[in-house]
Amino acid sequence: MMFPSLSVEDRDLRVMADALFAAAIDREATRNLDFDPVLWKELEEVGLVRLTAPEWDGGSNASWLQAAVVLGSAADNGIQVPIAEHDLLAGWLLRAIGDPDGSSALDTVGITHDGDSCVLPWGDVAETAVIVYQAGREWLYARLPLTSDVSQSPVSFGGVTWSFLTGLGALNWKPVGDAGLGALFFQRGAAVRSIQLAGAMEGILAMTAEYTRTRNQFGQPLVKFQAVQRLIADIAGDSALASAAVLRLLDALMTDSAAEADFAVAKSCVGRAAEVVVRAAHQAHGAIGTTHEHRLHRYSGALYAWSQDFGGAAIWERRLVERMAGPQRATNVWRLVTGV
């Protein structure tokens, strides 16, 4: 993502994160789409795992902008790590609830809409899952130890194992306490995925631009063909718009003024963009991009999975429309757009 202004400290953070993630690209684990324990240990050592947790809780107390720098860097490099799940989502929720057990060595998170089944990332490597359930107006949560007897039906998607868990009804569900907390958690999830999506789109754009610049067909680089330029422009356009929507949300998060509409704008734009970007990038890469060996599917798989997680574009768009009812609706639209 192109951040309009980063402090020297935050630029250094970006450089450090880039170096760690870039070094992991060609490691065996990444190539095999496995969790990379070496990378995870390195991230732990420099304080990027418990990224946003407060210092009293052993964290680095990073701001939203700094979190976006790190998550964006990982996604831009096509690297999957569960920092978002462990720290920004599970860690934050457990702390906000005041859960007596606190964080485990590695937590992941999932949302269930029916109280029985749930799509869960990182179920193969995490120690516990924090499952959140919106039961009518009430928000519940449960802690699920991910021991070997949990049936996971795993699917690998872009370097993450996504599991489909069932039979969650028997878990020990507890209220999250303040009802607003559940909604906040869902919004945080949408923000995190939006940041990651924007980062991944930046990576996919750079990769596709590079490929079409260096791959020759009919005696010239692919990018000389206007039909191919159209693909590049499509990726550049939609990813720029997605980035703008995410920067807009980050601005609001940094000033503690993020409203439902800010999350909705971001998740809608990144979700719609993901579809355009994946299609165009695969088209530009030709057949080689469909192979396991090629890095492209690390991006495209992640883009698909993340864009549906914590509410796909259609869900957030419906919420946006619901907020635009009432006699002042026409003026409200323009207020929403300009923030004034």
Binding site: Q226, I232, R319, V321, M324, V333
Partner: protein, 379 residues
């Protein structure tokens, strides 16, 4: 949203926005103008332009010593955005205020600045621009209109086309070839002149649009004499002059708000909810992101940074959005069984359906822009 705005305070921008919005709300309530889609082309109202001038909303970035407001590009952005969202009639002063004044500030002689800038800022002096020609559309450097040196000035011969407002404006910039192509690169040897439209040898013929309205013209120049003082900047600097301000032209709010009035009227009529809601949320989200992207480019230009690729992207994405609003509104109205066709939103829809084709053409076609974007990313 937290505006990152250099030395202009965020509070200042917010209060400017509120103040202008209040004035425009009053105008609409009092029927001072009828909101229009594509108001920067269709809404010609000289009294309104003069009132904007009196209220200090024109010549925003023109220094005070030339009668302007001496304010920043960001403040200008806010004013433009509010005027367009209200569908205000801004066509009369539009070209003078958006293109001519900034160009005069950079390239104009002292005499030219003193002659034109104060009257542009007052909303009293209207301009047109003569760039395209019958044989030069996207390929602007291929213009054939000739400027030939004669005693005391130049004689200009050729024809310009798609010259908006030439039938009402005082003068126009004319891009000419002043050095023959032999021996020079195509982008060299071009010069701009400031030509009063009542000059001897100038003939303006209307090009009537599909809806019967008259915005465009073809302008013929037959041995039109202009004095040396009418050369804009230096002879031979024409290409640099017409391309240096492109980032401003391509990234402004007029590239995504041309159909906002239609959008708002559909929401206001309630049609958007019952019959168009699935796409409504997506359109609002995209509009909000376009606002952020466009103001981000304005910020970078304000700080003196280059933003050519992003500026091209704003136009590419924004004009596609403007068209998507038209398609969506047509669908929503059809789903409502034609309800709304006789209301303001129906009127806006018909107007927008006619204007739509031009959005992705004017100021650089989408096809040209895709090339600009791709070259910017792969060079």
């Amino acid at each position: 949203m937290n505006q990152r705005s250099g030395n202009v305070s965020s509070d200042g921008l917010v209060s400017l926005r509120r103040e202008l919005r209040g004035f425009l709300d009053d105008c609409r309530r009092e029927g001072r103008f009828t909101p229009s889609v594509d108001c920067w082309v269709r809404g010609w109202d000289e009294d309104f332009s003069k009132e904007l001038g009196q209220r200090g909303y024109l010549g925003m970035t023109v220094p005070q010593k030339y009668g302007g407001q001496g304010r920043s590009h960001l403040e200008r952005f806010v004013v433009t955005e509010e005027l367009l969202a209200a569908g205000a009639p801004v066509a009369a002063h539009w070209i003078a205020d958006r293109q001519i004044a900034p160009s005069l500030m950079v390239h104009g002689t002292e005499e030219q600045k003193r002659n034109y800038l104060p009257r542009i800022a007052a909303g009293e002096c209207y301009f047109a621009i003569g760039m395209s020609e019958p044989d030069s559309g996207s390929d602007l450097a291929s213009v054939q209109t000739k400027g030939t040196k004669v005693d005391g000035g130049y004689r200009i011969t050729g024809s310009k086309v798609w010259t908006s407002g030439a039938h009402r404006a005082e003068a126009f910039f004319v891009l000419t070839r002043t050095t023959t192509l032999e021996g020079v690169a195509k982008h060299q040897g071009l010069s701009q002149f400031i030509v009063p439209l009542d000059s001897a040898g100038v003939e303006v013929r209307p090009i009537v649009s599909a809806d019967g309205m008259h915005h465009f013209n073809e302008v013929f120049l037959d041995e039109v004499f202009v004095p040396d003082a009418a050369v804009l900047g230096r002879i031979g600097d024409g290409w640099n002059q017409v391309t240096s301000e492109l980032a401003f032209e391509r990234s402004g709010p007029e590239r995504f708000l041309s159909t906002y009035v239609l959008f708002e009227s559909m929401v206001d009529a309630g049609l958007a909810y019952d019959h168009g809601s699935p796409q409504l949320g997506a359109l609002v989200a995209r509009l909000a992101a376009l606002h952020t992207l466009s103001s981000g480019v304005a910020n970078r230009l304000h700080r003196g940074e280059l933003a050519d690729t992003d500026a091209a992207l704003v136009k590419l994405l924004g004009t596609a959005f403007e068209g998507d609003v038209v398609a969506w509104a047509g669908d929503a109205m059809a789903l409502a069984g034609g309800k709304g066709l006789a209301a303001p939103c129906g009127h806006h829809l018909r107007a927008a359906q006619v204007q739509r084709a031009g959005f992705t053409l004017r100021g650089g076609t989408s096809e040209v822009l895709r090339g600009v974007v791709t070259r910017g990313l792969t060079a």
